[in-house]
């Protein structure tokens, strides 16, 4: 039986629930040499700031066990060049852009939202709030409910498309942060951003990264990402969630859906396999089919409920087997 991967997020329809993660596919052009970006659920672009930005000193990456640290420092062209070059390319190519924005003050986020307001073709806005707030002693917006909410409400007020807030796992109470940004008007959540980490070079006896600390990503953080999705979905079952963190296979994607995500974003896995996204889409389709399911939406959050249906093991996806009650 055919699986229909169509996915609706905050009222916006996408061909499937597999997206690139911000900062891991630039604005799609380079990825397109390996993978047709028009087949993806969507392309979440590298977080763009108001002005061009050179980023942090190198080395900017360190490989870790089943993960990596990065300290790019949001190098990018700034919103004007992004709107002049990157977004038009994506739209002409026929891809679905989710534009990620980042700033260091509420004002900067506001201006970014305003710059995007009258641009056609932006499917969603993702607000990367894992940035230091220059107006609050460099505290990261995502770590404090009030500053997180201030940014989201400013963006929400200035946007015509649904706004997703991307949260950091480096907090005591992720549900509290989620509540704050939802109250501030977020239409959905992206969970999770990287975790703050460090690597030491046993040769130089110094931190590997030029910036000392960096963001940990990859399969290593998947259990933390799944836990965040689980907790937030339990608290807000109706809120659409992007599950992000260590997705590498269709089974990983399935697990995020079961935990409560409506779609996933793939980041670090793209570096090891630039063709990962179509493969994940295929594997997810097959995994749903094997379980007698026809749409991803049917299993979103399913792991929270007592198992009424179990996965049939045989080739009888729709027969009695799929309806037998489990213990």
């Amino acid at each position: 039986m055919a699986v229909d991967l169509t996915t609706v997020l905050a009222g916006v329809e996408f061909a499937n629930p597999v997206f690139t993660a911000s900062g891991c596919a630039a604005a799609g052009q380079e990825l397109d040499t390996f993978t047709d970006v028009t087949t993806l659920g969507g392309v979440v672009t590298k977080s763009v700031m108001r002005l061009p930005r050179a980023g942090r000193p190198t080395p900017r990456m360190a490989e870790t066990a089943s993960g990596m640290l990065n300290s790019i420092g949001l190098q990018g062209p700034g919103i004007e060049a992004f709107l002049a070059n990157d977004l038009p390319w994506l739209l002409e190519r026929g891809a679905r852009p989710v534009v990620s924005i980042a700033g260091s003050s509420v004002q900067e986020y506001t201006e970014l939202a305003q710059a995007l307001r009258d641009v056609d073709g932006v499917a969603l806005i993702e607000v990367n709030i894992s940035c230091p707030n220059v107006e609050d002693r460099g505290h990261v917006f995502a770590c404090h409910p009030a500053s997180a909410a201030a940014v989201v409400s400013a963006v929400r007020r200035n946007s015509r498309v649904p706004v997703f807030a991307k949260l950091s796992p480096d907090v005591t109470d992720i549900v509290g942060i989620a509540e704050a940004v939802l109250t501030a008007g977020a239409n959905g959540l992206s969970l999770i951003n990287t975790m703050l980490g460090l690597a030491i070079d046993p040769g130089s006896l110094r931190p590997v990264l030029g910036a000392v600390t960096g963001g940990l990503s990859g399969p290593a953080i998947k259990p933390v990402a799944l836990r965040c999705v689980w907790q937030v979905h339990a608290a807000f079952p109706d809120v659409p969630i992007f599950g992000i963190g260590g997705v590498r296979t269709g089974t990983d994607a399935l697990e995020f859906l079961l935990a409560g995500a409506s779609a996933v974003q793939v980041g670090t896995a793209l570096f090891g396999d630039p063709t990962a996204l179509p493969r994940i889409m295929d594997e997810l389709g097959t995994a749903l089919d094997e379980r007698g399911l026809t749409r991803p939406g049917e299993i979103v959050g399913r792991a929270h409920r007592s198992p009424l249906f179990v996965a049939p093991e045989g080739p009888d996806p729709l027969g009695d087997a799929s309806l037998r009650a489990a213990g």
């Binding site: 891991c24 050179a54 000193p57 990456m61 990596m68 420092g73 703050l196 793209l270 570096f271």
Partner: protein
């Protein structure tokens, strides 16, 4: 700007040890045909259950379009860490995952010119194919090949075969002359009447070659090696400060805009920093402010 790229599960055809190095030949249809000297390929390492996520980059030592085993590429693997050691243990029949061709190749002179090629350690890998290509265009090729010791010296015979003068040096004198390539380079350039320099090796050597070339008023092309997470332009880890034609320095990706750069454009002294005059540094929001979350983020 970018050619179609391929990613393949590829068979290891053969391997050969040479000093500390291992030369691997892997089948690479779709890739080998497109490779030009200076391009690189990347391999996954560690096997199916590997905790190593990132690909490893290697200059193409040799690309064979239609050999006995079809289209193949050779790479020269130096044992650096766990990934390169894993690759060096591959044996014929093993499967590896290869992607390419990546990066921009060396640009060849439009008309015949005297080219001097300067190699440090495994940096010789892309230069051998380059020497062949240059000679095919009627260029004179002279070579300076150096390494820390004999075990790390590779390609001497190929260098000699494809050059007019070949100077061979080791730092400890265990093979060839004792010294560094940059010691003999001014004399070699003089004698060979060099008109363009090509170099691949450690950053310090590249800087010296670029400087010597500049002093003679001749162009140089250097192939750099920066830590790369993706190798195909999406992550921004592999940047270094490069001055553009417009005089503006930008943090440029060495995986797609390099690894080959004009020697004069690379701001060698500033590699590993974000110079204050670089594009996006000064006007950058939050610049100079605390950035506890340096991970992107």
């Amino acid at each position: 700007m970018v050619k179609p790229k391929h990613i393949r599960r590829a068979e290891v055809i053969s391997y050969r040890r040479s000093g500390v190095y291992t030369v691997l030949t892997v089948s690479a249809p779709g890739i080998a045909e497109q490779v030009r000297p200076g391009n690189f390929v990347s391999f996954s390492v560690g096997g199916e259950e590997s905790g190593l996520l990132l690909r490893r980059a290697f200059s193409v030592l040799r690309a064979e379009e239609r050999g006995v085993y079809g289209a193949t590429v050779d790479v020269l693997v130096a044992p650096t860490g766990c990934g390169t050691r894993w690759l060096a243990r591959r044996r014929p029949g093993d499967m590896v995952d290869v992607a390419g061709p990546l990066g921009r190749p060396f640009r060849l002179p439009k008309s015949p010119a005297n080219a001097v090629l300067v190699a440090g350690g495994y940096g010789v890998a892309p230069l051998i194919g380059l020497a062949v290509a240059l000679r095919a265009r009627g260029c004179r090729v002279d070579f300076a090949v150096g390494a820390s010791n004999a075990d790390r010296l590779f390609g001497v015979l190929d260098a000699k075969r494809n050059s007019t003068i070949a100077r061979v040096l080791t730092e400890d004198g265990s093979l060839g002359e004792r010294g560094r390539v940059t010691d003999v380079l001014p004399g070699l350039m003089e004698r060979a009447n060099s008109e363009v320099a090509y170099a691949c090796g450690p950053m310090g050597m590249l800087a010296a070659v670029a400087e010597l070339a500049a002093q003679r008023g001749m162009p140089s092309q250097v192939a750099v090696e920066e830590s790369m997470a993706c190798g195909f332009g999406v992550c921004m880890t592999c940047v270094l400060p490069v001055a553009g034609a417009d005089g503006t320095t930008r943090m440029v990706r060495s995986c797609v805009e390099g690894p080959v750069f004009e020697g004069e454009s690379v701001r060698f002294a500033d590699v590993g920093t974000v110079p204050s005059d670089v594009y996006g540094a000064a006007g950058s929001p939050g610049d100079g402010e605390p950035e506890p979350y340096s991970g992107d983020a």
